[in-house]
């Protein structure tokens, strides 16, 4: 006999505790800081511009959302970790007991190091370096490299561990800064929008554009936040992650895995879809990805899909790859707290395959009690994170 029925994994469980977000920090093409990120996405003005950081003359597309100059990833990661810990009012002693979950593509210093030295540049080693730079010395520091769900998976895992009482405090940080190699790869894959705009869920969409993103959030048990009288920005109400089992790099056409990820997140949050006040969609702006995501949201949200406001802020700050999950969760958090939902920029006209209640034109006033951020990646990996707002 077993103590679980077959297909028990369709019924998501969670530990009894609750993780809250007590600090956040971000970098984007709009600049350093959460204030400029929020102002940028609420302005409705996309941050895309011709790339100056490296040579793009041999590329099909030469546009990205990048801040000026050539910032170094390890330096910026250490900066956002410190700023998030400052935001959470953590003492040096509290930081020393906190772990770091770091989501990155790789250590950008590895590929051009002499072969004999490349072993020094693993992602776990980078996580240790960033943790040390931020004064984080707790057990369990680790790295995530699961493509565009790396950061959102790290956040889900951190929330789940805290809910289980297996971690005291986890800083989840992630970063991707637009650079020549990934840019060349995405250009070669012919997925970059050759009209210089990202148009999620719109007819006439022509692909994605890369964008700088680095961010960090501090997650800890709610009783820990209460006992040290820390400001609670939001609760990690629910999370879900699931696979498509469909194709190496195409999403399931009906978003099968994403549907299950969203349903698991809602179930863990203990809410009905009608209680969601905002969905920050993955919305890559690609031909096949957007209809699959819209289909998943229609199934998972049911009738509520007609009324829940949805936007993809990749239309504004670009695709931050391994950092997308943390950047977009922070956008979701900031927008919900401000009571203004960012618009889905670049929209031309409706695509019948992407029917959603999109925030179009300008940012819309709304005060969601619950907001969800959705991400998917190559390999059919899908995540959904639900924030509960105080």
């Amino acid at each position: 006999m077993t103590d679980r029925p077959v297909a028990a994994a369709t019924t998501a469980r969670r530990g009894p505790g609750e993780a809250v977000v007590t600090g956040a920090a971000a970098l984007s093409a709009y600049g350093r800081g959460t204030d400029v990120l929020l102002a940028g996405v609420l302005s409705g003005r996309p941050a895309f511009a011709p790339v100056q950081r490296f040579d793009v003359t041999r590329r099909r597309v030469g546009v990205a959302a990048a801040m000026p100059g050539d910032p170094a990833l390890a330096t910026e990661l250490t900066r956002v970790v410190g700023e998030a810990c400052d935001d959470a009012c953590l003492t040096a002693g509290e930081r020393a007991r906190s772990a770091l979950f770091l989501a990155v593509h790789d250590d950008p210093r590895m590929a051009r190091a002499p072969r004999r030295d490349r072993h020094r540049f693993g992602t776990a080693a980078l996580a240790a370096e960033v943790a040390a730079g931020g004064g984080l010395g707790g057990p369990g520091t680790r790295s995530y490299t699961s493509g565009c769900v790396a950061a959102s998976t790290a956040i889900a895992d951190a929330a789940a561990l805290i809910a289980r009482g297996r971690a005291d405090r986890i800083v989840v940080a992630a970063g991707y800064l637009v650079e020549s190699d990934q840019f060349a790869l995405f250009d070669a894959g012919r997925v970059l929008a050759d009209d210089g705009q990202v148009r999620p869920f719109s007819a006439g969409r022509r692909g994605l554009l890369l964008g700088d993103g680095a961010g960090a959030v501090v997650l800890e048990p709610d009783e820990s936040a209460r006992s040290r009288r820390a400001p609670v920005l939001a609760r990690m109400a629910g999370w879900g992650r699931a696979g498509d089992a469909y194709h190496p790099c195409q999403p399931h056409p009906e978003g099968r895995g994403l549907t299950r990820a969203v349903m698991a997140a809602l179930q863990r949050a203990g809410i009905a879809a009608q209680q969601l006040g905002y969905v920050n969609a993955n919305g890559s702006g690609t031909r096949d990805g957007d209809p699959a995501e819209a289909s998943a949201l229609r199934v998972a949200l049911g009738d509520a899909v007609a009324t829940v406001p949805v936007s993809s802020t990749k239309s504004l700050h670009g695709q931050a790859l391994e950092a997308a999950g943390v950047l977009e969760l922070i956008v979701t958090l900031l927008a919900a707290r401000k009571g203004m939902l960012p618009a889905n920029a670049g929209f031309l006209e409706a695509d019948g395959a992407c029917r959603l209640n999109l925030v179009l034109g300008e940012a819309a006033p709304a005060v969601p009690q619950y907001a969800m951020s959705v991400n998917y990646a190559f390999g059919g990996a899908n995540t959904a994170l639900v924030l509960g707002l105080p």
């Binding site: 679980r4 994994a9 004999r116 693993g122 369990g140 070669a188 099968r256 990996a381």
Partner: protein, 189 residues
Amino acid sequence: MTRAAPIAPPGLAAMQAAAAAAGLAVSAAASWPEPDDDREVRPLAGFIVSTFSPLLAEVAERALGRRGEPPPGLVTALVIVTARGDVTSAADVAATVDAGGRVGPLMFFQAVPNTVVGYVAARWGLTGPLACVGDIGAGLDLARLLIEDADADEVLVVWADLAGTDQDRDQAAAVVVADAAGTKKEQPG
């Protein structure tokens, strides 16, 4: 005279130890190279230049093939562990970019470990969460969490890291784990 127990390769031994520490039972295991007969990693259609993705697929499918027929509805998660990822592809792309060249479109798809994960997941119907982490301890800890929270009934954890020098060999290992306390599903009836 008693026969000495076979010694597990270092990566597999580390995974088995981490599984035991996490309270997980190993139902199948595989590694690369396995004694004597592993010389060249079998090529995998659509993946070029590097042995990284074929190596992950090889040990993943060996382990899945050894775990027996899963009961209907069993949900399997897939966790990849790699310290450095596909170093060969990353260095190849960097060299091409630095020489002012254009990279091939296939290199785009294999630029993240997710792609070969998706290949394995699609072939074996693995519908659980897919993740990639940087060390074996984190991989097995994540496997435990996914099982505890019913995101998966079992987890395939696959580790691979490419040779650092010409004197080294590529190494990989895989384990299929479930709750050691017996909550792994059995055939109904």
